[in-house]
Symmetry: C2
Subunit: 356 residues, 2 copies
């Protein structure tokens, strides 16, 4: 999905202008949550959900049946084409509103632009790609803030709304639920492979199209019974599924044979292409995940930090087939990848991977 | 107002870790608004005010008598102490909500942290200073996003609310109004002087205290008749007053003898300490400002980019004295600095400076 729209400064390969990319450039997962905990924040009464893990969306009760969803995300280039990078940065930021079951309303730009290294004309295609996705979401771009900086960063703060009666959290998965993942895995390793010049063009195209797709799942599933949802981002499938399991007080079992995978992801992992997030996500999940006999590349895939990854839905069993059918109309790679079990009574792990 | 609270990594002088500081590191004022205009944004119906100039807050009609205010800002260190930098970054971001007449509700962190150059322990005092100000504002810190980066940047996206009947804009100043400025001018040049090692400690302390003070003006003035308001930030007094004049279709006259000025600001300007924002703000205001016989350092002062600057209020004449009295209880440097005139019929400038 590299843009067909002509962009003048296309001689610049954006990913070559940065050292680290996408969610792989996050600070260590545990560090900030520890600092925020130590600060003993005072939470105003309408603030239902804060971002204790410094990674999700905040929920604010408007007191009239609506909840306001606030979130923000930004990162360095992960693809070379500016229009595509704009699309992905927007789709990624909008995703947290969808993960709460909501609809985005407006977005503000977070832009750091290296005027010393890149022509200012590059801002136009970046913003054009972003606006395309923001308006596709039915939201409006309402401005933002920009600075001159050493490396390009683009992102958005997004505000959306969700009826209080149908807001999703990641903490209500119930034993018996089936788990549906809406997008294929592997964007993290494919971004690293791109930077190392080891990605096939068709791998990049497929990953780019996947990252640019909006997670407009709430409108597809309507009133079907979704018990919990999360979007798969920096902590990878393992990290976010683990959080869902711990938050919900359940055990989650994922069948690796069912995982949808982007072309080139497993090959790249087998070739030893790893980034820092693989290691930090391994540490983040160390105590709570049982890997069984999973080959190394599959484990790294489950730990792969996703940019604009899919939603993981925990669905009441009677609705799972219909949810999958509806989601597949827009997300052909969507799949049922596991199930929710009662918490282990023998002190077992919160998350367990198995192959058939 | 350098912090008395002990901060371990205080051997690091934050301003030495960056090349540019505060709002002076903004992209050229005109560039982004041109790009956004060329994109022909679709504005959802409830989005009353977008950020066409990429610099203010967005207003969203919640449809129940409340407007939602969304804004964001972030920048590199402008003072050396991490607690003070956290306080200023928060006060600065919260200010746009106050400039709309609103009350902040929640804030999300925008943090870029150079783990290669600074100890991660520095995040704690940064966030402690920020949380102090966010909670003083009655709002809650609800998380955010952090990345590893070459230079430290800190800021916040802030959401607040204001009753529709008392929302302020910068576009309703009326002939006859008096103009009140709540904080003294000169933070931009004093930040530059600090970085060049040419600022006296007492200058820095006074500027730091001013920047860390919350613009809690709406609650002070209650129902007194404020026709227009703006906060003085990156475009300086001249740029923001010009925008108010143009937006309101009036002429604004500022009396430089009345301007409140931070200690050391004029001295530093006389010594030739200027930053890039002085030049870009001169260009930004070139067509619309009449400088009269103003000495150079006074002109640069009016063009000085402010970080967490004061509010400029356009007040109905019968209420001006009472507004000033109430504001001075918290802002002792507040002053009446000018007045609003009918638009010039001879094609005169939107903004005029004069000395008594």
């Amino acid at each position: 999905m590299h843009s067909n729209i002509e962009t003048k400064p296309e001689s610049v390969a954006l990913t070559k202008t940065v050292k680290r990319g996408g969610c792989a450039a996050k600070l260590p997962a545990g560090a900030l949550s520890k600092i925020l905990q130590s600060l003993k924040l005072t939470r105003p009464a309408p603030l239902l959900v804060g971002m204790e893990k410094f990674d999700d969306a905040a929920l604010w009760d408007l007191g009239d049946g609506r909840l306001m969803v606030n979130t923000l995300d930004f990162f360095t280039p992960i693809v070379d084409d500016p229009v595509d990078f704009g699309r992905i940065a927007a789709a990624n930021a909008l995703s947290d509103v969808y993960a709460m079951g909501g609809s985005p309303a407006l977005a503000l730009t977070i832009l750091a632009f290296p005027t010393a290294h890149l022509p200012l004309e590059l801002v136009e295609p970046l913003m054009r790609g972003a606006v395309e996705k923001i308006e596709e979401a039915g939201a409006g771009l309402a401005g933002g803030h920009s600075i001159d900086d050493e490396t390009l960063k683009l992102g958005f703060s997004v505000t959306g709304f969700v009826p209080a009666t149908r807001a999703w959290t990641n903490a209500n998965a119930q034993p018996g639920d089936l788990l549906i993942l809406t997008k294929a895995l592997g964007t993290g390793v494919l971004i690293s492979a791109t930077k190392e010049g080891k990605a096939e063009p068709e791998w990049i195209n497929e990953a780019t199209a996947s990252m640019a797709q909006l997670n407009r799942v709430p409108e597809l599933v309507g009133d079907l019974e979704i018990h919990a949802a999360t979007d798969i981002t920096g902590f990878g499938l393992a990290g976010h599924a683990m959080e869902m399991a711990v938050g919900s007080g359940v055990q989650i079992e994922i069948n690796t044979d069912q995982l949808p995978i982007l072309s080139g992801a497993l090959e790249s992992l087998r070739a030893g292409i790893l980034n820092r997030a693989h290691k930090t996500n391994l540490e983040y999940t160390a105590d709570k995940v049982e890997w069984s006999q999973l080959p190394a590349e599959w484990r790294w895939l489950a730990l792969d930090a996703q940019t604009s990854g899919g939603l993981l839905l925990s669905v009441a069993p009677q609705d799972a087939e219909e949810v999958l059918r509806r989601v597949r109309a827009q997300f052909p790679r969507a799949a049922t990848i596991g199930r929710v079990l009662k918490p282990s009574t023998q002190g077992g792990s919160a998350l367990r991977f198995k192959a058939d």
